[in-house]
């Protein structure tokens, strides 16, 4: 899921222009810890009230695998200990989202997610959201053992409103609310279009976004700074395209449409941005040479 924290690039080549660090108000939490704190709160509240986890052990296994592998790979390839916040989010997301009676899928999904960050890189940037990659691979390749969280969370209004309110505030603070907002608006619009096209009740088309899986998807996965394009307008366009592809997949009755949509659109957008950056850099070089 989201990498709301910084992870060093594999072999720095083209670095995005660094914005000056924003001034942090006193007595506030470092942004790096906000997402981990939020997702931990969701996990604890969800489990203590509704027992959303398969088991503490499985979630712990996912987190330990994720952090452990990040530390080892970071040490090997960057010669430093990577801050574990990012891997923690990946691990905890896997622990919440993966549903399997076996232990091994939790470890495997975390391992695939983290390793993908170090293997699937273009021009020094990893292009897939790690947990989106891991979960998509697992539900595609190990469907007989793995499903994702799709029903648990009480299905009641109050917990949903609390998570939406808290999530919105946090995402707004992280300056990524526009991504979530555009996605939700697009999803709702497309839900009505699907209802019109298929004849299904509109409530059934809206239903998924009222569930817990989507709360994690819209607050943590699609907003991941490391695997979204940099410009605000580009982010809005990309997340809209995610909703478009998801709609197409939903018309084909694909259960994991949102994961697969992000799996396809996210990296494609990243590649386009990298290609454009490269063209700009070449053009700049040529201009300098002239």
């Amino acid at each position: 899921m989201s990498e709301q924290t910084s992870v060093p690039v594999f072999s720095p080549q083209i670095q995005p222009p660094q914005a000056p660090p924003p001034r942090r108000p006193l007595l506030s939490l470092d942004n790096r810890y906000i997402a981990p704190a939020f997702i931990t709160c969701i996990l604890l509240a969800g489990h203590l009230s509704f027992g959303i986890l398969e088991s503490y052990q499985k979630t712990l296994l996912a987190i330990i695998t994720s952090i452990g592998l990040e530390l080892v790979l970071g040490r090997i390839f960057f010669q430093k200990w990577i801050h574990p916040a990012s891997a923690y989010i990946t691990g905890i997301s896997v622990g919440i989202l993966v549903r399997s009676p076996a232990f091994w899928p939790y470890a495997l999904c975390s391992a695939i997610s983290i390793t993908s960050k170090y293997v699937l890189r273009v021009k020094g940037r990893h292009i897939w959201n790690p947990s989106n990659f891991g979960i998509s691979v697992m539900v595609f390749l190990a469907a007989e053992t793995v499903a994702t969280l799709s029903i648990q969370w009480g299905n009641y209004l109050l917990p949903m409103l609390v998570i939406w309110a808290l999530g919105s505030v946090i995402i707004w603070r992280l300056q990524r609310f526009h991504i979530t907002g555009i996605y939700v608006a697009s999803f709702v619009a497309f839900a009505f279009i699907r209802s019109w096209m298929t004849g299904s009740p509109w409530q059934s088309e809206i239903a998924p976004i009222t569930g817990p899986m989507y709360q994690l998807f819209i607050f943590f996965m699609i907003t991941d700074p490391k695997t979204t394009v940099r410009s605000k307008r580009g982010q809005c366009l990309v997340v809209f395209l995610v909703a478009v592809v998801e709609m197409v997949l939903r018309l084909d009755q694909i259960v994991y449409a949102p994961f697969y949509a992000l799996f396809v659109v996210g990296p494609t957008a990243m590649l386009v941005e990298i290609w454009l950056d490269s063209r700009r850099a070449n053009a700049a070089k040529l201009a300098v040479a002239r």
């Binding site: 509704f50 027992g51 398969e54 790979l73 090997i76 390839f77 549903r99 399997s100 009676p101 076996a102 091994w104 495997l108 391992a111 695939i112 390793t115 993908s116 170090y118 293997v119 691979v137 697992m138 539900v139 390749l141 190990a142 469907a143 007989e144 053992t145 793995v146 499903a147 799709s150 029903i151 648990q152 009480g154 299905n155 009641y156 209004l157 949903m160 298929t198 004849g199 299904s200 009740p201 409530q203 059934s204 088309e205 809206i206 239903a207 998924p208 009222t210 569930g211 817990p212 899986m213 009755q253 694909i254 259960v255």
Partner: protein, 603 residues
């Protein structure tokens, strides 16, 4: 630089290995599966010690269950809302020493059947002539299950008919007919239930009756006033039917006492079973709920105390559809099997096998779910399951039937189901918000599971190899030695499908023993005549196994009242200890193997 390249190459290989892992695991399990997937009687006997042969037609049984057709407002999702009702219960209604079979039908106007055992391998439906066939008449609802118990201790098993509609109690007139005594008994006019069990909760020698509601009892499913009849949540629903505990007053009347004794629940009950889990002499009550957690009620003889969370069985919500007890490790302790839903890639709840934790007992007993460790976790959309020693090797095996809705093989409703099930309560709770089924299947055409117990904590599925090859939408399973041969046969009731009789053939040499118990209740002393709640602990070859006479278990099912123990080869039986519901204890030293022991409670 070279080091970095090597590290990257190793990393890429490692990554590819990770991606290949699911394939490798899949191939390994597929190979194991292939080894066990071909049926051959000789091979099955040699490898597994038994095989099953479906003989319903040659046994004269040609029963096909029909689903109800409910209010047309529910038409779009009729296959789902009308997906239960097939049930089977075993009874020797005429006390001729041969078990008979009662099955329910669920369409308005359809007939239930009572198959009398003709002692020659065949059965004859006598429900019509005895007055318990035409029980699904318009305005009275339809049958969803049946349990037999001798509520008046006259020696003949009476019939309680579970319905979505008016529940019925039929008095058995000494095996010659049945008299409807519903009103005299004081039963309520309407319950939408799928489970009921007989138990003597207060030890007064009179059988009481627990009934677990599913849909709310104020709904007439043929005339609904609102489409908001669905569960408010897929896993936390508390808007189902109420629970009833009918206390037997001994004069043909029952008093509803559930609230008075501590049973207050509106979860969607699908299965219940009772057994003395703590050796207190009182039956505890386990309720498996759809759309929620299971409930376990400890019984102190006067009141019930819900201890689901405390004991560990009532925390993670699933879709409970079965409750069956079995001493699977031959330790004198019951485990509980609860079936749930597993559908590849969509919903992997996994079934639960609640095994008592080492070192815990009595009121402090804790259960852990060892279904995965024991290999009995994944059974598709699982319904009825029963424990029984199918190959007489001395350990309890597990028969599970499954399959929810088999319509168009090529089109699935799962996408729409998962969409709505994950939604908010205001959406899921209203039938009109559910997309129409339009002939699609939902976990249909599933293969069954026959899990053989190796006695050391592992079960192996041999269903295909031993001949349990049907793919009907199975609901209810009952185990019974139908032809008094010392083996457990299997009877399966299928929704919209035929009643199946799997005749069992066990390898010669594996021995057995059976007990038929009868209580001697009179004037509130002694045990109920059906001996429901009586426990037999058999000691042989340095091991022990406990079994209990049940007034209903599994899903909408009741096994043969006689207790069947497999013994393996060359058994040396030390003793059998019988603990009667009255508290009396009877010991039988060195009972002979390979015979049925008829035992009356000592006066």
């Amino acid at each position: 630089m070279t080091g970095n390249r090597i590290a990257r190459a190793i990393l890429v290989l490692f990554f590819m290995g990770l991606l290949a892992t699911p394939f490798v695991i899949k191939r390994m399990s597929a190979r194991k599966e292939a080894d066990r997937s071909k049926f051959d009687a000789k091979t099955a006997l040699a490898r597994h010690g038994f095989y099953l042969e479906e003989v319903s037609r040659s046994a004269g049984i040609n029963f096909v269950h029909q689903s109800p057709k409910l209010d047309s407002k529910l038409d779009p999702i009729m296959p789902e809302v009308a997906s239960m009702g097939a049930s089977v219960s075993i009874v020797d209604f005429d006390r001729d020493g041969w078990p008979d079979i009662y099955v329910t039908n669920s369409a308005i106007g359809s007939k239930n059947a009572l198959y009398r055992n003709m002692h020659d391998g065949t059965f004859k439906d006598v429900a019509g002539e005895l007055g318990i066939a035409d029980v699904n008449q318009p305005g009275t609802g339809v049958s969803t299950g049946a349990v037999w118990g001798d509520y008046d201790n006259d020696g003949y098993e009476d019939l309680f008919l579970i319905k979505w509609g008016r529940p019925e109690l039929f008095h058995n007139d000494q095996g010659h007919g049945f008299t409807r005594v519903t009103e005299q008994a004081g039963l309520p006019p309407w319950i939408n239930a799928n489970t009921a069990i007989w138990l003597d909760y207060d030890g007064d020698g009179l059988l009481d009756l627990f009934v677990g509601g599913y849909y709310s009892e104020d709904i007439d499913l043929w005339h609904v006033t609102t489409t908001r009849i669905m569960p408010e949540s897929f896993e936390y629903a508390k808007n189902g039917g109420r629970k009833y505990l009918f206390h037997n007053l001994g004069n043909g009347k029952f008093e509803e006492v559930s609230a008075k004794v501590g049973i207050n629940s509106r979860r969607w009950a699908l299965a219940a079973a009772a057994a003395d889990l703590r050796r207190t002499g009182h039956p505890d009550l386990f309720v498996a709920n759809d759309y929620g957690v299971s409930e376990l009620y400890f019984n102190d003889g006067k009141r019930f105390h819900e201890v689901g969370e405390q004991t560990g069985v009532g925390f993670a919500p699933k879709s409970g559809m079965n409750a069956a007890f079995g001493d699977i490790l031959n330790q004198g302790r019951y485990s509980v099997y609860v079936s749930n839903i597993s559908e590849d890639g969509i919903l992997i709840q996994g079934n639960n096998l609640w095994v008592p934790k080492e070192g815990t007992a009595g009121d402090a007993v804790k259960y852990q779910n060892l279904a995965r460790d024991f290999g009995v976790e994944l059974g598709g959309w699982s319904f009825g399951a029963q424990f029984g020693d199918l190959n007489n090797d001395g350990t309890l095996d597990l028969y599970l039937t499954n399959g929810y809705i088999s319509l168009d093989r090529n089109r699935s409703y799962w996408y729409d189901f998962s969409k709505v099930a994950g939604g908010n309560s205001t959406i899921i709770g209203d039938a009109k918000n559910w997309p129409a089924f339009e002939g699609r299947s939902l976990s249909g055409y599933q293969t069954k599971r026959v899990w053989l117990n190796d006695g050391a904590g592992r079960f192996m599925d041999v269903a295909q190899a031993v001949g349990a090859t049907d793919i009907y939408d199975g609901r209810s399973v009952a185990l019974v030695d139908l032809w008094n041969r010392g083996v457990l046969d299997v009877v399966v009731a299928n929704q919209n499908g035929p009643l199946l009789l799997y005749k069992n053939t066990v390898t010669p040499g594996n021995e057995w023993i059976e007990f038929e118990l009868e209580g001697t209740s009179s004037n509130h002393s002694g045990s109920n005549r059906s001996a429901i709640g009586a426990q037999v602990t058999l000691f042989w070859n340095g091991q022990q196994q406990v079994q209990e006479v049940s007034g209903g278990s599994g899903f909408a099912a009741e096994n043969d009242r006689r207790l069947h123990f497999g013994l393996g080869r060359n058994p040396h039986i030390e003793k059998a200890i019988i603990r009667w519901p009255s508290g009396k204890v009877q010991t039988i030293d060195q009972p002979a193997a390979n015979q049925l022991h008829k035992i009356k409670e000592v006066a």
